[in-house]
Symmetry: C2
Subunit: 401 residues, 2 copies
């Protein structure tokens, strides 16, 4: 499709081109795995001598190495060297703050989780100091256990709230009642590694992860719905995460779907998608008492619906219908290639799918639903953690050396 | 904000860089007007010798000329040459198909309308042959009246429907009942200028125009709502028009805002934003008979509301409330810097503003409404036509020579 730029932009100078091409090549092996120089030349549309020069720079910076390919038989001719990311030596620390769990991982260049730690989190452990100290302790632990020649290239964290991009300030975290908490800055300070912590909204990062390595690889228009206590969203538009003016976009959970007598929402409004289709709505419709909550309770309802329990089936139908209205609106707005359900919604999705699809068929314009796929997430419960790792790698990949 | 690319992209080779910089410089003078070499060097982040080389190439292709600046007094030192777009010699033909009017214009590089023609359109004149023949006749007329040394660099058209980007096929045009009508191809054939016609949805192009030259210049996250018979939308995300997988995104008029007993919509669904807040809803709420319709009828209601007529005030309040729910949802999703109301909504906006703002205050998350502006469009009834001209210029600007 023809891209129309409606504002003038900066020109491209030589140094910028070198930087972009270095980042581009490193991103190719980070996301696509080891590749021969000739394959990289073809994929990047650059000639082989340019690729050779870029590879040499990345290798001397310790980011990739070149090796003869494994001998898989076949051609006896000259084989192109394979460029591999230094997956054991270059890593990021990734953190994931969920409502009931704090997770930290060491993730190598190339995206493999090399090591991980986690700690339970109770609703009592809601304050900044507790969260930061627990994460910092897990992170220092992982860092200490890394090989001596390994290098931490960045730090990323996923948080279930609205995050100011520059400094990782949690502007609003409804589930814990956080307002303007300096999460990123504090975590960086406590870790003491001399690196800033890049923080992102968990659903934004989930979308990036599913796009990079999950259920939506190569689908540049992707919508990710993340169920937690609420319903968060991450939306990829034309290959980039939709941030908006302040980085606070994608709040699909606060789309009003029920303007009349809607359920109260944690945000202070009523009739929001997350109020109508979130955890509490599901459990209420299924007749579960207020004291039951969390992933296990949600799974129990989904399981009961599958087993034929009428009350649970009713709950899944009600939630599926609201979810379907929300998803239909999103498909009309974004004309995406794929809609991905993650977090607790991956448990609800199989049971609710038919109800969601009915709404999509009813409410989406025919040309916009010609090719859209709806599916559960591809990275399971690691979606947001992997997204945090990608965020941690972003600086390195945009300016590798 | 840090952009994270979650898929690898092509590298940048020298030829591509030259092309981008030529297009970038031409876009600067097209959108920003005549500028000195030194100003261009600064804005584009390139050195002056690079700018000089690019300018020379564009000048020899007849796209810009260099002149001494008007003597405005001041410094007696050496003055930097001013680069001017060849606004009289390089032009596009722009077409706008609205429900009640067919318009054609010759628009010069730099964006000024040099000449225009229009013809009324009745609801009887709905078929492809009539629309194409009328437009082609207006277009040939304009082309014939152009100076002999002028060159037509492209053709753009705005249509009130869902458009396939490649060939300008109208996949769905609800107001005229068009399905899969080869509008772009036919118009190009009838014009006989040997140039393809780039067709876009009118609201998409309206958004581009408002972003390029209207109420949202320099605001890279912008939502444009276009009232016609229905309510169309164009959404700029991070400086680019949101297209989606097939180019059919931005259909904000078909967001379900009223899931219970909503008004029937032309799309076959019910409770869509355009059904609840469109022309017919306004006129019905104001008690106007079914035989009254169109811009004049809408203006009459807005005028009556302003003059204190209670029934008209009620109509504006009802429509403003639905519009507010839609706009609130969009702000939560897109975190835009500006929301712009165009088409018939520019007439409704002044009267409905307070009702829309009430909903925004009530339903938008505080951090997302910190800085958003809501306003009427800046280009009046030319918004979609100017957008069509920008579409016509797109090929030239992306590869000028």
């Amino acid at each position: 499709m023809l891209k129309i730029r409606a504002v003038p932009e900066a020109g491209l100078a030589q140094e910028e081109i070198r930087r972009r091409n270095l980042g581009g090549l490193l991103r190719h092996v980070h996301l696509g795995g080891p590749a021969s120089r000739s394959a990289l030349a073809e994929r990047m549309g650059l000639n082989r001598s340019t690729i050779m020069g870029l590879t040499a720079e990345l290798a001397s910076a310790g980011l990739v190495r070149e090796e003869l390919p494994d001998d898989t038989g076949g051609s006896a001719g000259r084989r192109s060297l394979v460029v591999r990311p230094e997956s054991e030596r270059i890593y990021v620390l990734a953190f994931d703050v969920a409502v009931d769990r704090l997770t930290a991982a060491r993730v190598g260049l190339g995206g493999r989780v090399l090591d991980r730690r986690s700690a339970p989190r109770t609703r009592a452990g809601a304050d900044l100091a507790y969260v930061v100290e627990t994460l910092a302790s897990l992170g220092r632990d992982l860092h200490g256990a890394a090989p001596r020649d390994a290098r931490c290239a960045g730090i990323g964290a996923a948080y279930c709230g609205m995050i100011r991009p520059g400094d990782g300030m949690v502007r609003y975290g409804p589930d814990m009642g956080w307002v303007d908490q300096a999460f990123g800055t504090e975590l960086g300070r406590r870790l003491g590694l001399g690196l800033p912590v890049a923080v992102g909204n968990e659903a934004h990062l989930g979308a990036l992860a599913e796009y990079a390595r999950g259920a939506g690889v190569g689908v540049p228009n992707l919508i990710y719905l993340h169920g937690d206590v609420g319903v968060g969203g991450g939306i990829i538009v034309g290959g980039e995460l939709l941030g908006g003016d302040g980085g606070y976009g994608c709040e699909l959970g606060h789309m009003i779907v029920n303007p009349f007598q809607g359920r109260r929402c944690l945000c202070g409004s009523a009739g929001c998608l997350e109020a109508e289709a979130g955890e509490r709505a599901l459990l209420d419709e299924a007749g579960r008492p207020a004291g039951e909550y969390g992933r296990d309770a949600v799974r129990a309802v989904a399981e009961a619906a599958r087993a034929g329990d009428p009350r649970a089936q009713h709950a899944v139908e009600v939630i599926g219908d609201w979810l379907g209205i929300g998803v239909a609106n999103l498909i009309n707005l974004f004309n995406p290639g794929v809609v991905v359900f993650g977090g607790m919604l991956q448990d609800v999705w199989p049971a609710a799918a038919e109800h969601v699809r009915r709404r999509v068929a009813q409410n989406v314009l025919p040309v916009s639903r010609e090719r859209v796929a709806l599916r559960g997430c591809g990275l399971g419960d690691d979606t947001t953690l992997i997204g945090a790792a990608e965020l941690g790698f972003a600086s390195l990949l945009s300016a590798p050396c």
